[in-house]
C-alpha cells in the first residue's frame, strides 16, 4: 500500500518534471488515437449510409389488370401477414402513372399519345434485412408470384447485388485499414514510451543497485505511461469532438441531404478516448519497461 503511494508520488513527480517531453508524447499518442478515431467515425457514417440504403430497398408487386379492390384488399392482408415483410404500400394505377410521368420528366411526351392508363396497380413492399440477399429474395418472390392476382414481381436485383457488394467492400476495407491503423496507434504509443524509457535506463540501473524490486521500478513507469496516455486520449476526444462537429456542420450546410446519414458523435467518446489512451499506453509501457533482470 505504501509502495503504491510511493509509486504514484514518483510517477506524478516524474511526469511533472519531464512535462514538456511528456506533453510531446501525449500529443503523439493523441495523434495516433485521433487518426484511429477519425477512421472509426468515418466508418460509422459509411455504415449508417449503407444501412439506410438497405432500409430503402423495396420490391414491387404488380397486380393483374382487371383486379377488383376487394381482391386487392385481400392480397394486401395476405402479404402483410408474411413474416418476412416489414411494411407495405399500395400504389394505385393513377398514382403509378403520375410517378412514371414524374420520372420521365420532359420525356413524358411519350405518354401523351396513350389514351388509356396502361399501368397496373401495385404493392411496394419492404422486406426484413435478413432476407435481402438475391438468392433468398428470388425464392420469396417466386412464391409470391404464384399467388392469384399477382401479375409480376420486380426488384432491383442489380442494385441489391451492388449494395451487398459495396457493404462487403466497406467491411473488408474497414477491417484491413482498421487493423493497420490500430496497430499503428499501438505502435506509436509503444514507440513513444519506449523512447521515453530509454532516457531512464540509467535511473533504472541505479534503482536496481539500490535494492528496488521489479514492482517498485515498474510501477511508476506504468503509472506515468497511463497518465500520459489518459491525457493524450482526453485531448484526442476533445479535438475529435470539436472537429467532427465543425466538419459535419459545414458538410450539412453544403449538402443538407447528408443529415439523414451523418451519425451524431456518441457522448461516450469522452470515456473511450482516455480509456483507450490509458490502456494502450499501459500495454506500451509494460513492454517498454520490459523484463527487468538483476
Amino acid at each position: 500500500m505504501r509502495n503504491v503511494m510511493y509509486s504514484l508520488e514518483t510517477a506524478c513527480s516524474n511526469t511533472w518534471r519531464d512535462k514538456w517531453m511528456n506533453l510531446l508524447s501525449a500529443f503523439l499518442i493523441c495523434s495516433g488515437l485521433a487518426i484511429f478515431g477519425s477512421f472509426l467515425i468515418l466508418s460509422f457514417n459509411m455504415e449508417s449510409a449503407v444501412r439506410k440504403w438497405f432500409n430503402d430497398f423495396s420490391i414491387v408487386i404488380y397486380l393483374n389488370k382487371g383486379i377488383s379492390s376487394d381482391e386487392e384488399e385481400a392480397l394486401k392482408n395476405f402479404f402483410i401477414q408474411d413474416s418476412d415483410v416489414l411494411s407495405l404500400r399500395y400504389i394505385s394505377k393513377e398514382e403509378a402513372l403520375l410517378e412514371l410521368k414524374d420520372m420521365l420528366g420532359a420525356g413524358s411526351r411519350v405518354l401523351e399519345s396513350v389514351e388509356e392508363n396502361p399501368l397496373p396497380s401495385s404493392f411496394e413492399i419492404k422486406m426484413k434485412r435478413e432476407i435481402l440477399i438475391p438468392a433468398l429474395l428470388r425464392q420469396k418472390t417466386a412464391l409470391f408470384s404464384k399467388v392469384p392476382g399477382v401479375n409480376e414481381i420486380q426488384f432491383g436485383e442489380e442494385w441489391l447485388e451492388s449494395l451487398i457488394r459495396t457493404s462487403m467492400i466497406l467491411k473488408s476495407l474497414l477491417l484491413i485499414t482498421g487493423t493497420a491503423l490500430a496497430s499503428t496507434v499501438i505502435f506509436i504509443s509503444y514507440g513513444t514510451i519506449r523512447i521515453l524509457f530509454y532516457r531512464r535506463m540509467d535511473e533504472i540501473e541505479t534503482l536496481k543497485l539500490l535494492g528496488a524490486t521489479r514492482r517498485f521500478i515498474r510501477m511508476p513507469f506504468l503509472m506515468e505511461g497511463m497518465i500520459i496516455g489518459t491525457a493524450g486520449g482526453a485531448l484526442c476526444s476533445l479535438s475529435l469532438f470539436a472537429s467532427y462537429r465543425l466538419v459535419s456542420l459545414r458538410l450539412m450546410e453544403l449538402m443538407p441531404s447528408l443529415k439523414a446519414f451523418l451519425v451524431t458523435m456518441p457522448e461516450g467518446i469522452f470515456f473511450y478516448g482516455p480509456a483507450a489512451g490509458a490502456v494502450l499506453s499501459f500495454i506500451g509501457s509494460y513492454f517498454a519497461v520490459g523484463k527487468i533482470k538483476y
Binding site: S13, R17, T206, K208, L209, L210, G211, R214, Y294
Partner: protein
Amino acid sequence: MIRFTKVSKYFGKEPVVTDIDLHIDKGELAYITGPSGAGKTTLLKLIYMAERPEKGEISVSKWDLRKIRQRRIPYLRRDIGIVFQDFKLLFNKTVFENIALAQKIRGVKPDSLRENVDRILTDVGLAHKSGSFPEHLSGGEQQKIAIARAMVSKPLILLADEPTGNLDHASAKTILSLFKEFNARGTTILIATHNSALFTDTGRKVIYLKDGKIEKETTG
C-alpha cells in the same frame, strides 16, 4: 559476514580478479587498496551481485550468492549500503529525494523517512543543500550525498568505493568518523581506496590487491 572462496571473475578472456579468498567478520571495518585497475571495484560488485563470478563461492550475510534466486536479489541489496565510485545520483531528483529513495525502496514510513533523511544530511553537513539538484553541487558535496544515501537506511553492510576521492582532508575525516560510529553500532564496513592516508595507523585489516590478486593482508 562476507566470505569469498577461490573467486575468479573474467571479462571476456581476461581475468580481472583471480582466486580471491577473503573473509570479513561481522562488525569488522576493513580496507581494500591497490593501484588503479587492480580490481577493487569489481570485488565490491561481486558482493552486491552487479557482477557474477565465473568461479568460486561468495556468501554475504545469510545469502549464498550461488543459490540466491533472481527475485531475492533486491533483498540482498537492501542489506547492503553502497557508496558508488561514480556516485550514481539521480540528476532529476533533489538531494532529499535521492536519499529518500533508498528509504522508499525499503518501504519506510513517510514520517520516519523524513526524519532519517534530515538526520543523515545533518551528519554529512549538507542539510542546507536538501532541496538542490545534484548538478548544482560541487564534486565533494555530491560524494557526501552518495555516502549519506548509502548510510541512511542503516544497512548491515556498508561498501564504500573511493569515498574520499573528491573530499578535502577535513571532510574526509568527518566521513571516516561517521563510518567508525556506524561500525561501532554493528555495521560491517568495507572501504576500497587508493588513499593510504585513510588506513595507516588505524589498526584495521587492509587487503592489498594487485592485478586482481590479493598481494598481502596486513593491519594498517
